[in-house]
Amino acid sequence: MGFLDIRNVTKSYGQVEVLHRVDIAVEEGEFLVLVGPSGCGKSTLLNMIAGLEGISAGEIAIKGRVVNGVHPSKRNIAMVFQSYALYPNMTVGQNMTFGLEMHGVPKPERDRALADVAKLLQIETLLDRKPGQLSGGQRQRVAMGRALVRNPDVFLFDEPLSNLDAKLRVDMRTEIKKLHQKLKTTIVYVTHDQIEALTLSTRIAVMNKGHVQQLGTPKEIYDTPANVFVATFMGSPAMNIVPAKIVLRDGHPHAALTDADGTLQHLRFSQGNLGAWEGRDILLGIRPEAITDPEGADRKSHNIVALRNRVTVTEPAGADTFVTMTLSGKDAIARMRADANVAPGQVFDFAVNMEKAVAFDPETEQRIA
């Protein structure tokens, strides 16, 4: 039993089921990120944990207490909203202590809690201002401060960084992570940004169409995605998914695929369990960073396979150069070092790290190896 238990939770509006039997146990101090495209049900799930939306079936328990039907204010949770939801008519200080005031905490105690949190977030100088006089980043801090003052069991974040500009978002991301490492609080965080999910979380639940597609650590999600959806949603640029056929050579499974000129090439899998798929079509998944120039290949890998192919486009992006090629009729992207010597139209010797390759069943799109 976890600290926050989501057991077989289902949400339906009338006949339409939008969340299907979600089952997640969150340990104390864990940073769980719910990630998925819009409409996947992640915010609905968060609102159900908060008590802002009813639970159609299943139950949610916080610290072993089932909270179905318990009022949001009595669940000992705090929430940071996407729009920050600061009360415009109150000062920053009043905003942050409003919850304590509503819970009947006496004034001296409120002031002490406020001073502590203001110091932690370095917003002491802002306490007498109105939210309208604050910048986006400051509002974000105040919104977090309001949650921290309550000292809740679980923090809920609903896309808190999506209203900030790109640079500030990266700064605040680091700050949230620091805060979590310092305070060891239990956090459930909703985002549609896969980078936020990978950087912040201790565990990720990737959601799509009301189903949890995969629940695991960032490394598990990134390296061994459960299906094609998770593989392509997490990571940027997305994982290359190309059709291939399994052939056995010297007893080892190989992925046979055609290059840009129609020549058949064979890439040896590290996984041995694909023998049963001999002669059948699969979807081969390779991350862009697993396709490099030979000098840039991972030296620790035991299975670097050469791939000769024609370059269609090169996109220098500062730190990396992205190289596009055609594999089995699909575009595939390779992530090269910035100074890799490669030009469009050129036939280039790529190095593929097949230790990182995965294979999917083309029918079910589930991972098979």
């Binding site: 929430m79 909203f81 729009s83 600061l86 009360y87 008519n89 919850g99």
Partner: protein, 292 residues
């Protein structure tokens, strides 16, 4: 080459501008003419009006018509002046405006932030009440007031005006609160504030502009209402009915100067409300339609 101006306002030449102002001033004078006529004629003795030019300034200035209109003029059969009726109007308008505005605010709050099954229907029906002509409800209203024992009293008039005004005030507040972020209400719920606490502490403090709209609208409508006042006023008739009785008396000399003074007295409160709160009125009506 002329410099390109970044000004977004329509730029006009000096002559055009002078012409525009001239036209505007002429219109303003035209609209102010009745007020001028009322003003000057309420300050002169009756002989000057009957004997001479309505437009001229008084040759003898006097406040007697005002005193008469206020405290001694014959209203119906009693020589009371307009004073008691003015009081009736105040006693009716203040609670009616306050109650209908508060109820409208609560309705708007519920219809946008505590939505329930069929809430759009409820709102639609309330909107419908804005379109019902006064005359249609006179008889059913009389029956209801009679059954409640409120016929011919100030509380009866208050009830009538509150019932009639709720449609409009609900419309105002609903549309205003629809633009109010629901996340704030949710945040307050998590913070532990209840239904009324959220209303009182979170929504009301930012409702200033729309409250002004509601108050002005209700005040002018209720103060200027004649039909309900004449029908259900009984012994507590409002100012409008009394003014009618003063002006329309068919016996004796027509004291035009007193009539003018009375008419100004009747119009004064709405005039003051508009002057004091008028700019908030426009601001409130525009609220939400333009971002920022």
């Amino acid at each position: 080459m002329s410099a390109v101006t970044q000004d977004t306002a329509v730029s006009t030449g000096r002559v055009t501008r002078a012409f525009i102002y001239l036209v505007l001033i002429l219109f303003a004078l035209f609209y102010l003419l009745p007020l001028y006529v009322m003003g000057v004629n309420s300050l002169k003795p009756l002989e000057e009006i009957t004997g001479g030019n309505m437009m001229a300034l008084p040759s003898t200035w006097t406040l007697d018509p005002w005193r008469s209109a206020w405290s001694t003029a014959q209203i119906g059969v009693e020589p009371t002046g307009l004073k008691p009726y003015f009081l009736n109007s105040i006693l009716m308008v203040v609670p009616a405006v306050a109650i209908s505005t508060i109820v409208g605010a609560l309705n708007g709050y519920v219809l946008t932030k505590w939505r329930f099954r069929g809430d759009t229907w409820v709102f639609g029906l309330m909107l419908f009440s804005c379109f019902i002509p006064f005359q249609i409800v006179l008889i059913p209203m009389a029956v209801v007031l009679g059954k409640l024992g409120l016929a011919g009293s100030v509380p009866g008039l208050i009830l009538v005006h509150v019932v009639y005004g709720i449609g409009f005030t609900t419309l105002y507040f609903r549309n205003y609160y629809a633009a109010f972020p629901t996340e704030l209400v949710r945040a307050a719920m998590i913070d532990g504030a209840g239904f009324f606490r959220i209303f009182w502490r979170i929504l009301l403090p930012v409702s200033g502009p729309i409250a002004v709209v509601s108050v002005i609208w209700q005040f002018t409508n209720i103060w200027n209402d004649f039909l309900f006042g004449a029908s259900f006023g009984g012994t507590s008739q409002p100012m409008t009915v009394a003014l009618n009785n003063l002006v329309q008396s068919s016996t004796g000399v027509k004291e035009y100067n007193v009539h003018f003074a009375g008419a100004i007295l009747a119009a004064l409160p709405t005039l003051i409300v508009y002057i004091v709160a008028g700019r908030y009125f426009v601001r409130g009506l525009m609220a939400g339609s333009v971002k920022g």
